[in-house]
Symmetry: C2
Subunit: 138 residues, 2 copies
């Protein structure tokens, strides 16, 4: 039951990230990232950004830019690792498919983002039921 609850909470946090992204909601985006844990972010083709200031500044720029594309998230899979979790998923931007890795930690009883790495992928794999994609530490 606890693992199932964690799994759902992590999927929810991952969806909240993409909702904030699509809605260009910087206030929500800021709240989604960890406050105390160290954070980093690798946007597609960029060098990796480290620390809250640089990471949030990059998102402020992306969300403020009217040219920024609307991203759709697909095929989220959760890897539960105790008080950390990884979500692997795909991001669709028109015809472009990106593979994303989002790492979360439990902070103040919430799952907050500590790392986002997104990069171009060959294609979206055949869809699988989301429940089959969840694995966890025994």
């Amino acid at each position: 039951v606890t693992l199932e609850r964690d799994r759902n909470a992590v999927l929810f946090a991952n969806e909240a990230f993409y909702i904030a992204f699509r809605a260009r909601d910087m206030t929500a985006m800021q709240a989604l990232w960890a406050q105390r844990a160290p954070i980093a972010c690798s946007h597609p083709g960029w060098t990796t950004l480290n620390g809250r200031q640089d990471v949030l500044e990059s998102w402020r720029g992306i969300l403020a830019n009217p040219q920024s594309p609307a991203v759709e998230m697909r095929q989220a899979r959760v890897l539960l690792l105790g008080d950390a979790a990884i979500v692997t998923c795909y991001e669709l931007i028109g015809d472009i498919v990106l593979a994303a890795s989002n790492v979360f930690v439990r902070e103040d009883a919430e799952w907050r983002l500590v790392h986002h790495h997104s990069s171009q992928a060959a294609a979206l794999p055949d869809s699988e039921p989301e429940s089959s994609g969840t694995t966890s530490v025994q």
Copy 2:
């Protein structure tokens, strides 16, 4: 002292991964990945692989292929997250620069890999002393 020990152990595990990669040592590679925690891997441009069988099969193919390039690792930075840790670093393959995210968990008192995501980056950033790159949960 404990954080410093964890940081060094994580950097060591990350280096061991690239040493196994360069040495095409599948036995070492297999031992580096978590035994019980769920694992995943996003090779550059591929779709994300999930589970020990698919992930290790991909590495078996890469290490067995004489055309596989020699990878050099640069600028490792550790994000300590308790019993999990992320290393962000760069991989050099000739003139190509890749940004990598490697996620580790503590398993049997060792840091073992649970996720590797590598993708092409614009360029290697100006080098910084490795010690300045380490941050951790307070």
